[in-house]
């Protein structure tokens, strides 16, 4: 998938971001709201497609092994990657475009909310909080949406076993 040129220019020129072929721009949390606002107001990406949190559990570093000749592999801390996707509706001059960007949120820290930029992010962020545990700061009403209110844990984290039970639900 190729991204629209004006979005690429915005990301590389103004924000200095790198772009991935399928996952879009990688942005820091501090610049997230600025990028989102620019995309909506200047480039007309008004359609909010989704926000997804993907949880990556911690990976221990592997020390170098001289016998086998392998090198040291760094450990990865427990973090979540939050992907966003926006769409620009088709007009008579151009077809429809999507643009995606993502940010990395270490576990335990907040991700800024975009629900005051796109109203549709509201419930989607609630769902990601509910299922993966990403806390969105400044969200108007961050509570569980799918699971019961008093459910412990966040089911879609990779370290949450699929057979976990919580009485009286199964």
């Amino acid at each position: 998938m190729s991204w629209p040129q004006d979005a690429i220019d915005l990301c590389t020129d103004r924000f200095g971001l790198t772009l991935c072929e399928t996952e879009g721009a990688t942005v820091e949390r501090e610049q997230l709201v600025a990028l989102a606002t620019a995309l909506k107001n200047e480039l007309d990406f008004r359609f909010f497609v989704y926000v997804v949190s993907v949880h990556y559990p911690a990976v221990d570093p592997i020390p170098a092994d001289e016998e086998k000749g392998t090198e040291a592999v760094d450990g990865i801390p427990d973090h979540t990657v939050v992907h966003y996707r926006l769409r620009r509706m088709a007009t008579t001059e151009r077809g429809t475009d999507t643009f995606a960007f993502r940010t990395t949120v270490p576990t335990g820290e907040d991700c800024p909310t975009v629900s005051d930029i796109w109203v549709g992010a509201d419930w989607q962020e609630r769902e990601q909080y509910d299922l993966v545990g990403t806390v969105f700061s400044d969200h108007p009403d961050l509570r569980r949406i799918m699971m019961p209110e008093d459910w412990p844990g966040h089911p879609l984290r990779r370290d949450y076993a699929i057979e976990t039970q919580h009485f009286p639900w199964r």
Binding site: M1, E23, R46, V49, Y50, R85, A90, T91, M147, L156
Partner: protein, 425 residues
């Protein structure tokens, strides 16, 4: 209008509709109504003298289209605040997708949008194919498109039946239209039974193509059934469109602001009825949609009646598309990979996320899949997110309800066509 050739298209030269451009998209001026109601309004701020009543339209209710709980705060019969509660049908589909392989996921995802199951299958298999960069042969793309269009007709028929139920009750006039549309839908389900062996939940799309091929004589039978349906559509229009009570209940009810709809992520008939001319089949063609011309019906009034008109026009258009495609299905294989039977047959090559979207009867149905690069886990997705259009449509409810009668809320909710299986997954 007994004309199957073309559905009404909005050409822009409407009588007396003023257009403006928001974000490059052309929308009717009358429908833009800021400020939008605040869904988190505190009830105490409303009116200290008003006698407010909290009515819980609970998960079990004859008309909430599945298990949806809506807490309404009513002032007399006018709604002041509306809080929907979801999750009653949450089955953990996305968690299951992290446990099952790419081959095994299709029957699970079938049950999301249980009214048009092939849409779910199509969306998810297209995402998987994008992930493993597989090609889909041309015959399979034709079969997929034909099935998708017939599913669209079936879904809109079911919507029409339940919409009548909302307005007339199961014991009464609604029941009549419900029975009629379901009778038509049975014809379509018989077609699918011939093709796949199942009436619902087919598991017929797979990564790289289709599992079932068109049997001999199916194309002729399908063409005949679709032609019959086309004429019955005309009967429905006569029965419902000119029915004075139907018009009284739906015209001017549940008007949707297109700017709000776009921000909420609503697409499909709801957005098209509010004047925005978007359709993923035409703008971002997938399967065999690039080989055929799509006429996208739109309306400019944004109320329930407009959504009804758009859906009936879409039904006609789908019948036309399917009939035309059935005439020229190319020969060839129906799957690009070897017959996909073993769970480990499909393996992802990279750990990045891909997204692919289709135009389901409710809007943009998409899947975001992240491949798994861990040891021995390549045949299972890492994360699978299903972007369901009904969930975004339901988000409209707190903005739509305030200021409306209880009866109007029921009708508006019905016209949004939420499918709770898709909302909760």
């Amino acid at each position: 209008m007994n004309d199957l050739e073309s559905a009404p298209i909005n050409t822009g030269e409407d009588d007396g509709v003023e257009w403006t451009t928001v974000g490059g998209v052309r929308v009717p001026v009358d429908l833009i109504t800021p400020p939008w109601p605040d869904p988190y309004m505190d009830i105490e701020d409303y009116d200290p003298d008003a006698d407010l009543m909290v009515l819980n339209m609970g998960p079990q209710h004859p008309s909430t289209h599945g298990v949806l709980r809506v807490k309404l705060v009513l002032d007399g019969e006018i709604c002041v605040k509306c809080v929907p509660y979801l999750g009653y049908l949450h089955r953990g589909v996305e968690k299951l997708c992290e446990k099952l392989s790419y081959v095994q996921i299709t029957p699970i995802v079938d049950k999301n949008d249980y009214v048009s199951p092939m849409m779910n299958e199509l969306a998810i298999n297209m995402a998987f194919e994008k992930l493993i960069q597989a090609e889909v042969p041309r015959r399979s793309r034709y079969i997929r498109t034909i099935c998708a269009e017939i599913q669209r007709v079936g879904s809109h028929l079911l919507w029409l039946g339940t919409f009548g139920l909302d307005m007339g009750g199961a014991i009464g006039g609604g029941g009549s239209i419900f029975m009629h549309t379901f009778r038509e839908r049975e014809l379509l389900l018989d077609l699918f039974e011939d093709l796949t062996g199942c009436r619902f939940h087919y598991n017929t799309h797979m990564v790289g193509g289709n599992r079932h091929d068109i049997p001999a004589g199916w194309a002729d039978k399908a063409t005949k059934v679709l032609a019959e349906l086309g004429e019955r559509c005309f009967e429905y229009e006569q029965f419902v469109r000119d029915n004075e009570i139907f018009r009284a209940r739906t015209v001017g009810v549940g008007i949707v602001d297109p700017v709000l709809a776009m921000e909420l992520g609503i697409s499909g008939p709801i957005l098209r009825a509010s004047g925005v001319d978007v359709d993923l089949r035409r703008d971002q063609p997938y399967a065999a949609y690039d080989e055929i011309e799509i006429n996208v019906p739109t309306e400019t009034t944004g109320d329930c009646f407009a959504r009804y008109l758009v859906r009936v026009a879409e039904m006609r258009e789908s019948i036309r598309i399917a009939t035309e495609l059935l005439k020229g299905v190319p020969e060839g294989p129906i799957g690009s990979l070897k017959p996909v039977k073993l769970p480990g047959a499909v393996k992802a090559k990279h750990g990045l996320g891909v997204y692919s979207a289709i135009e389901s009867p409710r809007g943009e149905l998409g899947t975001f899949v992240v491949g798994n690069t861990e040891r021995r886990q390549a045949a299972i997705p890492y994360r699978c997110k299903i972007r369901s259009p009904s969930m975004h449509a339901l988000q409209l409810l707190p903005y739509l309800c305030p200021g409306n009668n209880l009866s109007d809320i029921i009708v508006a909710l019905g016209s949004l066509d939420p499918i709770m299986g898709e909302v909760d997954r």
